[in-house]
Symmetry: C2
Subunit: 346 residues, 2 copies
C-alpha cells in the first residue's frame, strides 16, 4: 500500500516494486559492488520508474556522511567569492555533495562560536576556508578540535598543518617581471599590499630582477593596502622620484588601477611613458583603457581541487602524514598596459 499519493517515494516503495529488501536498494544506491547484476538492474528500473531519490537527512542521520561541504568566508572581494564558489559548487555536484555557504559576520571572538554551532548542526563532511579565515589560528584550532576535514585556499603560510590549494604567486610574479624586463624595462617599481600574497609576489619580483642583475632599488618599492586609493598614492610617490620608473608592478589590480588613474591624471601615457601590471585579473582589469596586463588566479579550479581533496580523504587528520598542498597553474594575461619603454628611457 502506497502512502498518500503525492508524497515522494521512499526506499520501501522501491524495494517493494523491485521485489527486494530495502538493504539491497540501499546497496544499489550506494554503488556497492556486492549486488548481482540482475538484481541491480531490477532495482535501478524501479528507481527510475518511481523517480526515487534518497533523502539527505535520512542518509546522514543513519550514516556517517552528511553530503554537505561547508564554504566559510569573511569579507573577501566579490570576484574571489564568486570564483571560488563556482568551482566549489561544480565540484560538489560532481561528487553528489551540496555546498553550504556561511559568511562570517565579524572577525571577532564569537567567530568560533559561529563555526562551532555550524559544525554541530550541519556535521559537514568537510570545510573549505578562504583568506583571511584560513590564516586565523583560533579558527583553525576550532575546526581541528572538531576533527572536521579542511582544505585551505591560498593560506598565507604553511597552512598550520592543514591541506591547502594555492597557486604559485612568486612564480607568477617572476614571470610578469620577466615580461617587463624582456620588453626592455630596467627600472621597475613595485607597489606592495598588506596581505600575505603580496609578500610572495614581491619575492618573485625580486627573484626576476636578481636573475637579470637588476638591483632592486628600495626607493622603488612602495607600500600599499590593496585598495585603489593606495595605488594612487603609491604612484604619486613614484612619479615624484628624480628618476621615475618606466614600469610599475602593483601587487594587485586595484592598486594597479590606482596607479593607472594617477598616471592619466598627470598626462603620463600608459603604456608609452610607463607600463603597468597588476595581479588577479579582476573584472575591472579589462574594463579600463588601456586594459591591464595581469595574472589570473585559477580560483574555480582551486576550489574544485579543494572539494576533491576533501572527498579523497586528503584532509584527514592522519597525524604524522604531512598536509598535502596542491599548486595549480596560473595564467599571465598580456593586455594593453604593457609595452617597451620609450626611447632613451630604458
Amino acid at each position: 500500500m502506497n502512502k498518500r499519493a503525492g508524497a515522494p517515494p521512499t526506499i520501501i516503495d522501491v524495494a517493494r516494486q523491485a521485489g527486494v529488501s530495502i538493504k539491497t536498494v540501499s546497496r544499489v544506491m550506494n554503488k556497492e559492488p556486492t549486488v548481482h547484476a540482475d538484481t541491480r538492474a531490477r532495482v535501478q528500473e524501479a528507481v527510475a520508474a518511481l523517480n526515487y531519490r534518497p533523502q539527505l537527512s535520512a542518509r546522514s542521520l543513519a550514516g556517517a556522511k552528511s553530503f554537505l561541504i561547508g564554504l566559510l568566508y569573511y569579507d573577501p572581494s566579490a570576484a574571489f567569492v564568486a570564483g571560488v564558489q563556482q568551482g566549489a559548487t561544480l565540484g560538489c555536484r560532481e561528487a553528489g555533495r551540496h555546498l553550504v555557504v556561511e559568511s562570517l559576520q565579524e572577525n571577532g571572538a564569537d567567530v568560533q562560536a559561529q563555526i562551532e554551532s555550524m559544525l554541530a548542526a550541519l556535521r559537514p563532511d568537510g570545510m573549505i576556508l578562504t583568506p583571511p579565515l584560513c590564516d586565523n589560528p583560533a579558527i583553525l584550532e576550532t575546526l581541528r578540535a572538531q576533527r572536521t576535514p579542511c582544505v585551505l585556499i591560498s593560506p598565507a603560510g604553511e597552512g598550520h598543518g592543514m591541506a591547502s590549494v594555492r597557486m604559485d604567486d612568486a612564480l607568477a610574479a617572476e614571470e610578469l617581471t620577466n615580461l617587463l624586463i624582456s620588453l626592455g624595462h630596467k627600472s621597475i617599481a613595485f607597489i606592495e599590499g598588506n596581505q600575505a600574497a603580496s609578500q610572495r609576489r614581491r619575492e618573485g619580483y625580486e627573484r626576476a630582477l636578481k636573475a637579470h642583475r637588476l638591483l632592486p632599488d628600495p626607493s622603488r618599492i612602495v607600500p600599499g593596502t590593496f585598495q585603489f586609493e593606495s595605488g594612487v598614492e603609491a604612484a604619486r610617490r613614484l612619479f615624484a622620484l628624480p628618476e621615475p620608473p618606466t614600469a610599475i608592478f602593483a601587487a594587485n589590480d586595484f592598486m594597479a588601477l590606482g596607479a593607472l588613474t594617477e598616471a592619466q591624471r598627470r598626462g603620463i601615457a600608459v603604456p608609452g611613458d610607463v607600463a603597468i601590471v597588476g595581479f588577479d585579473d579582476s573584472d575591472a582589469a579589462s574594463l579600463v583603457w588601456p586594459p591591464l596586463t595581469t595574472v589570473r588566479q585559477p580560483l574555480a579550479e582551486m576550489a574544485m581541487a579543494a572539494v576533491q581533496m576533501l572527498l579523497a580523504g586528503d584532509a584527514r587528520f592522519d597525524a604524522d602524514a604531512p598536509a598535502p598542498v596542491r599548486v595549480l597553474p596560473h595564467e599571465v594575461i598580456v593586455r594593453g598596459s604593457t609595452a617597451a619603454p620609450a626611447k632613451g628611457r630604458a
Copy 2:
C-alpha cells in the same frame, strides 16, 4: 550512561541532565510557549552545560522543516552573486537556517533535472532565484510542481505569480536622468542593454525627459549588450552624430565604462565635454577616473528580504492570494563622471 565520551551530546543527554523528558527539551529548543519557566531554565542550563546543539539531519527527518534555504543561480556577474549571497547568508543565520548554493551548469534541458534532484535530496524550506533563472518558465514550473516556496530576485516581468523582491529600476533611472537634467543637460543619450532591467531603466529615462519636455531623440538611443565592448561601440556611434549628446546614460556600469574609455581615447573630456552615468555600482565604477556616477542596487538587502519572506510564508502557493512583491530603496551615487555641460553646449 553516556555513550563514548567525545561524541556530541544528544537530546537524551540533555533530558537526563535536566531531569525532564526529551519532549520537554524539544519544546524548549523550539521555543514553544507551553513550558514552565522553571523547567525551561533547568533545560537551558543543561543545554549550556553540555554545549548541546540539535542535529539538523535528525530534526529535518523527524519534522517538516529542513532548515535549508537554496540559492540558485546561473552565470551572473560576480558582484551580483556576492551581493545576494551576503544578504542571504546573513538572513539565514538570523533565522537559524543555512544556505545551500547551487550554480546551474547550463541553461539547457537538464536544468530541470538538476533542480528536481536537488529538491528531492535536500527538501529545502525555500528557494531564492536570481536572474536569468527567475525568468525561465520551465524552471519556475518545476519548482511550482514540487510546491517549494520561492522568492525571485528582480524578475523581468510579474514573476509568474511568484513572490519577488526588486528595486524600482525605472524610478532610479528617472532620478539619474533628473540629476543630469538639473545639471543643465538637454541632450542625453541612452545605451540600452539586452536584459529585462534595461527596459525598465529606459522607461525611467524617458519619463524624466518627458516630464521636462525634452523629446527623446531615437538617434540618441543606441543598443548594447551590457558588455564593455558594446559600450565602446555605442559611444562611437554617439560621438559620430552631427550633434553629439552632452550626457550619456548607460543601462549598466560595464557599458558606461566602455563609453568612458572611448571618450578618453578620442580626447573627449569626462565630465567636461560629456557626462556619463552607469547603473549597478560595480566594483569597477569606483576604480576608474573619473569614478562613475551610478545607482547601487540593494542586493544584500533584497536577499535578506527574500529569506524573510520565505520564512514568513509569503511564498506559499496560496492559490488566489496575489504574489507579494517587495520593492527596496536604491541609492543614487554621485561621483566624478557627471558635471554641468560646457558653456554653449547645453
